[in-house]
Symmetry: C2
DNA sequence: TCCATATGTCGATTAGCGTGGACATATGGA
DNA sequence: TCCATATGTCCACGCTAATCGACATATGGA
């Protein structure tokens, strides 16, 4: 991932409404949500939301697909991996001992038992 | 990690000079660099750099320590782990199959042989 | 004490972002 | 065709960020 693309992604996520949108769309993977529904759920005017959705799209964090009159937005999970990878690889340069704890921390969160427990807590 | 803290971190990294500073300090772990040296290496006026260093510090991405007249800045690697964790845990909610590829992608980067190869490529 | 070095703070300027009203476009149904 | 719904674009306003000159503070040496 290039720095320019990373800066776009960081800037897109550095805004509370957009971060909320991103999390909302991640929760609704893999079906996604129509633009109007996103605006309604977050109580944001549709034109303001349209701008935010455009910023997230330009950053590659979400994607859109037209379905007749509605446009369905979906989170791009590859982008999440790319950003996390960008961060970690920056800190891994010649210093694997720094990153091992990170992977150790992340690994248990990816087991099915952990996910089931998290879901139960909600 | 709270959303507010994450937004501070994303905003801090969504600026080319600050991203350069962060990477520079990561390269100089664990010794760090004096503020003036950071400004000189990135060809940025010392007062402008002082502002950027303050933003990164407020975001918890770097830390400072006075050594007589100079102030040594160091990257906070725990913050890197926290941001990466924030991103991944957002996408892990009930969907471990999404995150497993990320961990798989990251794991090899944390082996000593990989780090040695990366260093050799520079 | 006086001065040089290292760094931070203040203030002004410029540029860009977030917001939302008004309008434009696209789609499907009557 | 006409209208309602869904979404995007344009524009102006207000606010915040980025920059950097000038000044302030802190430290150590002569």
């Amino acid at each position: 991932m290039e720095s320019e693309q990373a800066i776009l992604a960081f800037a897109a996520l550095a805004q509370s409404t957009r971060l909320d949108v991103f999390r909302l769309l991640i929760e609704h993977e893999p079906h996604g949500l129509p633009a109007g529904e996103v605006a309604r759920r977050l109580a944001v005017p549709h034109n303001t939301m349209s701008t935010h959705l455009a910023v997230l799209t330009r950053a590659g964090l979400i994607g859109a697909e037209r379905q007749s009159r509605t446009i369905i937005y979906r989170a791009n999970l590859d982008a999440v991996r790319a950003i996390a990878g960008f961060l970690v690889k920056d800190c891994c340069r010649g210093r694997p001992e720094v990153c091992e704890p990170l992977v150790s921390e992340l690994s248990p969160c990816c087991s099915k038992t952990f996910a089931a427990k998290e879901a139960a807590d909600d």
